[in-house]
Amino acid sequence: MASKKKRNSTEGKENLVSPFPDEVLECVLGFVMSHRDRSSVSLVCKDWYSADRWSRTHVFIGNCYSVSPEILVRRFPNIRSVTLKGKPRFSDFNLVPANWGADIQSWLEVFASAYPHLEELRLKRMTVTDESLEFLAHSFPNFKALALVSCDGFSTDGLATIATYCKNLTELDILENGIEDLGGGWLSCFPENFSSLEILNFANLNSEVSFDALERLVTRCRSLKVLKANKSVTLEQLQRLLSRAPQLVELGSGSFSQDLTFQQYAELKNAFNNCRNLHTLSGLWEASSLYLPALYPACVNLTFLNLSYASLQSAEFAKLLPNCPLLRRLWVLDTVEDKGLEAVGSSCPLLEELRVFPAEPVVGGGGGVTESGFVAVSRGCRKLHYTLYFCRQMTNAAVATVVQNCPDFTHFRVCIMNPCQPDHLTNEPMDEAFGSVVKTCTKLRRLAVSGLLTDLSFEYIGRYAKNLETLSVAFAGSSDRGMQCVLEGCPKLRKLEIRDCPFGNVALLSGLERYESMRSLWMSACTVTMNGCRLLAREMPRAKKGCPSLRSHPLRIIISMHGRLSR
């Protein structure tokens, strides 16, 4: 068919590219899911841009200040699902002042008129008030999925309005937010005839919910696939929930310690035995080693085990692991120590992602894991490509060994918790460690460095890390040259976050050409001055002016200045 329906007003010029109707194109493009691919699609030509524009139903905005809601709705009229990220990542660590912004309300107001059929909203690091949640609940009758990660500004009252008014809700995912927990009554607000829930995650709310209401909710929501309860749910209650919902694929248990009789223990074990569909398990607050064996039958198909809130010791952890042969992602606390990590190396050959969190996230503490645990994992888990490793000591040699064993790292984040700590065996800087990472791991996309680092490490990064997109730096470097190396050498760099480094105006201004293509730059407690910032601001538009055809990417540069009181 050669006829074309032109929905967008064309200028009447011949279209040389697309020999088939828009509807077909849109249909085909509907299979293109990844956001980056969609963006690329939209750049091909006007027809494709238009097809993408009309067919796109999900939009991802990594920086809520990069575009206004008005522009968004004008370009994409048929959006059903929005993902928005707000504050810079360092706001998670209290480095961004309160009331900084990233408020969802203005977006909601625009969406209410432009996207009345909005179904999904996923927010990360946004400010969301209870009034906004109420507005949401009343403005979108088809609303289905709400996910809030690391947001702030709301309370459980807001959740209550969602529960009360969103009749078609399928997903409520509340993760690690600065939420004001006023009680667990919100859960009881789901109407008695409400049964569409598929995903419920309230693991990070502390208040006790009415177990009765929860049990009834779980019973009538036959499609429930994900249930992550909070620690107020006891083992005995968990057993009852499991027996109502053996179809769960993701489970977050409540508190895993309680006085159980033999009978109760047997029932619990039986309940887990019936939950063979689980692929994700988390929670296990205050896990008592006594009851962990009840879990074993349910672990047979586990691919993701999140023990980052369960302080397990190495022995019980080592006993648990062999029951999870298919494990791909593992999050643990460093209470398992190196011995526990050795068990990981020997029990989890399919492991792809390992995150080790500190049980005592303070500077100068003790215990935890060391470089030997890291090496032990790498020996047994050759497919490892993602790591987040909090430790109190590390050596260059160990890191070199790790990446030799696992050269496919895409995300390498090692945090030596004492700032500026050198190799604890040789007392040298950790330059060679991260040098070996970037030399060996050619697919590296995300890197977080730590320990004592000179400019040399950044020279390595600039020279070798050609696929690097995100870099996090703290307490590192010796001079402007460090930052310059990175800005000059990493062509794919999108996000750069720096704190407490000796990078000043020269370094900042050296990136003028680079910031053009970057998503964001964060610098705090560096030696940049106000004049430097002014200069940057002045020079930036000029850089753009030189390339009129270059489409400017949304960009954010945030520089945090700190008063210094010299002694």
Partner: protein, 345 residues
């Protein structure tokens, strides 16, 4: 879990109607989007004024704000309070040369407090003068800001000292970094708070680390198929410990339990006391640091928690050596629980 992906690019080719909504956008002081300002590009090129304002907190009366309002006088008020607090910090920042604090100001206090005055370049600022900025021209129209500069308002007491950090080129030892650094290690506040209230278990019952917030010791009961662990730190006296143990092991006591009553802090009535003493079957003992088995209740509570390594609920018959002596010792303040254990308050 949310499936938030990495960043995305939204290429905006059309000249946007941003100018109509310029207030919102331009006051989003952290973006550069010159494509949003095609019309005023030529103006903007000249404009590098830094503007004070927080993207989220314009006029306080405006509840939902996406940017800084030009019209309200409150932003100036905000400005004033913040600036006055920031004066010192700001001037310091201005004066600071490219020198890094490592070499020059070892031990200088880096203020990482939370309040902030934000500077962002933009065109018009509604005619407000910005006292701390020289050369701030005020032009109408709006430029999309390029750079946002955040200056913390005032040194808060909570701002910790930066650890004494040796220069990067100095291969000396790591600093004695006992001082806490704001936002470090980079763990989400939620997790930090959770871990603070739920400290990790101690590794071994024989090495209960006191002072770390918990003190787990094993509790065994003769005849029970498995052991339990209790955190001695969660109790403040023997009475609480005894009632907790009673609850824990109640499933193992058979028949003769007269009651599950917890003795009050003042002990029991004498008649009941005598009942229980005569009927008691179990004695609570503990192993101290020296490896000796002692009767629970002799020493003050604090001393007990310091020296206790594990607990054992012994059958009364096994405790013949201990129990009679113990009973002599006790006066009316003794609480004895029939069927489970003996304690003293």
């Amino acid at each position: 879990m949310s499936t938030l992906l990495e960043h995305d690019y939204i290429g905006l080719s059309e000249v946007s109607p941003a100018m109509e909504n310029s207030e919102k956008i331009s006051s989003s002081s952290s973006t550069v989007s010159s494509e949003l300002n095609d019309k005023s590009n030529t103006l903007n090129l000249k404009e590098t004024e830094l503007r004070l304002g927080l993207p989220g907190s314009e006029s306080p009366e405006r509840k939902f704000g996406g940017g800084v309002s030009e019209k309200s006088g409150c932003s100036l008020g905000v400005l004033k309070t913040l600036v006055s607090g920031a004066k010192r910090g700001f001037s310091d920042a201005i004066d600071v040369s490219g020198k890094w604090g490592f070499s020059g100001n070892a031990g200088s206090e880096v203020d990482l407090s939370k309040g902030a005055v934000l500077f962002s370049p933009r065109g018009g600022n509604g005619g407000k003068s910005l006292p701390v900025l020289e050369g701030a021209t005020q032009k109408p129209g709006t430029a999309a800001p390029v750079v946002q500069v955040v200056v913390p308002a005032s040194p808060k007491p909570v701002a910790e000292k930066k650890p004494q950090i040796s220069t990067a080129n100095d291969h000396g030892m790591a600093p004695a970094a006992k001082a806490q650094v704001v936002g470090w290690p980079p763990i989400r506040s939620f997790r930090k708070n959770t871990m603070a209230t739920n400290p990790a278990k101690t590794s071994d019952d024989t090495e209960g680390k006191s002072g770390s917030g918990c003190l787990y010791v094993k509790v065994s009961m003769d005849g029970a198929p498995y052991l339990r662990k209790v955190d001695l730190k969660t109790y403040s006296n023997y009475t609480e410990l005894s009632s907790a143990l009673e609850n824990m092991f109640s499933c193992f006591t058979i028949g003769q339990c007269a009651s599950h009553g917890v003795p009050g802090r003042d002990g029991l009535s004498e008649s009941r006391l005598m009942d229980l003493i005569h009927g008691s079957e179990y004695v609570l003992t503990y192993e101290d640091k020296d490896g000796d088995w002692m009767l629970v209740g002799d020493v003050p509570w604090e001393m007990f928690t310091d020296s206790c390594r594990r607990l054992r609920i012994m059958k009364g018959s096994d405790a013949i050596g201990l129990a009679p002596r113990a009973m002599e010792k006790w006066s009316g303040t003794v609480g004895v629980l029939h069927g489970t254990l003996i304690l003293s308050s």
